[in-house]
Amino acid sequence: MLEKKKKKNNRIKKDEQINGFVFVLPALLIIGIFNFWPAVRLFLLSFSNYSIMAKKGEFIGISNYLSMFEDKEFINSLKVTIKMAILIVPIQTILALLFAVAINRKKRIYKFFRVVYFIPAITSFVAVAILWKQLLNPSFGLVNSILESLGLPRSQFLSAIPDAFYSTVFVCIWKSWGYFMVIFISGLQDIPSDVKDATRIDGANSFQELIYITIPMLRKTTLLVIVVTTMDAIKLFVPAYTMTAGGPIGTTTTTVYYVWRQAFRLSEIGPASAMSILLFVIIGIIVILQFKIGGEEQYE
């Protein structure tokens, strides 16, 4: 009897083994072919002089990596990307946090503002970029009309230095801050209300409440928002492609855009792959940070 039961259990175990594996097989194939293999291939390509036309390349050691650091335009693109991240990440995070705190009230009107502020987040980045490219149009853009009516000088915006850079930063923030505001609001709603009540009873004003209660309790949300915003800033491609083509003279050329152009406009596959590896290292560090902050069970 016992023997029989054990046998049956074993059969179930084996069944589970097989089914468990069969169920992950489709994902394993997809991720294997379209993620894992390309990732391996990226490493191989970065050490080669691969040519798209000839469909082959030879091993050339680390010379792609060496030339990468001598490529002034590439270094410039790294600087542009870092400068953008340095502006976008804090401004956007602080804006999102402040407005989340201000707007997290029960009255209808606040709910209404929340709905509207989120609209750019559901608009595609390409549409946002084109929309702002026209708003900033030097001859008929609305922004110049407004500047003029305020008695301020007009600007060439996307074709001027440094206006193009700051315009790009502005558009990125305009697009995404509402999204992170919503994330912060959901974080705020997780703060137990008795904590807030206790602070009020102890006589804290709203500013003290913000500094000593709200912000510390939002620590994890804030860190995650910072990490994700940084990642988004490093991956910027659409604004450069759509609004400025990276110009004027490279002041808005982000790294992803530069690498993409090297690969797909100039067919410099090897060097572009080495640059992608550098991006991977940066992004990998950020992903690991993200996991560390999120902890396994709460992550994303």
């Binding site: 991720i31 009516s149 994330i183 991977f280 990998g284």
Partner: protein, 281 residues
Amino acid sequence: MSNKIKTNIYEIVLLIILFLVFLTVVIPYIWTVSNAFRFNDEIGVFNNLGIYTFIPKRFTFTNFKRMFDQLNMWRIILNTLLVAFSTTFISLFINSITGYSLGQLDFIGKNFIFGLFISMMMFPIEVLIIPLYLTMNDLNLNNSYFSLILPFLATPFGIFFMRQFFCNQPKALGESAKIDGASYFQIFVKIYFPLAKTPLLTLGLLTFMQQWDSFIVPVTFINDESKLVLQVALTRLSAGLYMTDYGVLFAGVTLSILPILIIYLIAQNNIQENIASAGIK
């Protein structure tokens, strides 16, 4: 009393600030949409701020008509929807059956496979675009819808997200069905999959929006005019080979904004909650 006045002043100042921000969000849309309904000779005429800066003086659909003449717009819309919907539905199934297997079943190599999936999060599409393009070339899939769909049918995040959900479901449900002779596939389809409505809705929404917005992939993989998707078509209008036809450009942007905006305004509560519940995309 004075405290109450103070609170009121605070609230009025706050509302004024919120209203100004409201304007910076809304006015760009109003201006763009209104330009889509102007004749070309009216665009750029009302530069001095006035009522006609924000609504067309003579209302017309001619820009939309020209857009549909110049580009195969129905085809483009159809392509975009086809790619977005098929990716969303198939990936929901694959990601959730994978998540179920990793979260509920026991098999050799499970942790290794899960680790492999998770580590792929370090390779976003922007990093992998070059070798992925070459792989598509090898598979003869360049310039096809498959190149836009296949790579996204299983995603590390989707698997992670669904596994998270299935980990927290009781194992007893499946075990009792197993004793009654159900297969694991039946158990998944009939018991666990229906349980996952909420996370599936969230993940589906995120996947659909990602596909709808997707740009670097279609702009790299698709050359064929008849296979364009909306976002790429927009950039073609924006930087045409010829002089930019601004009326058509505004019409195109409007077309890409309005449907999503309407869906959002109808379902906004759900959409915001869903996105917040996924925490961070």
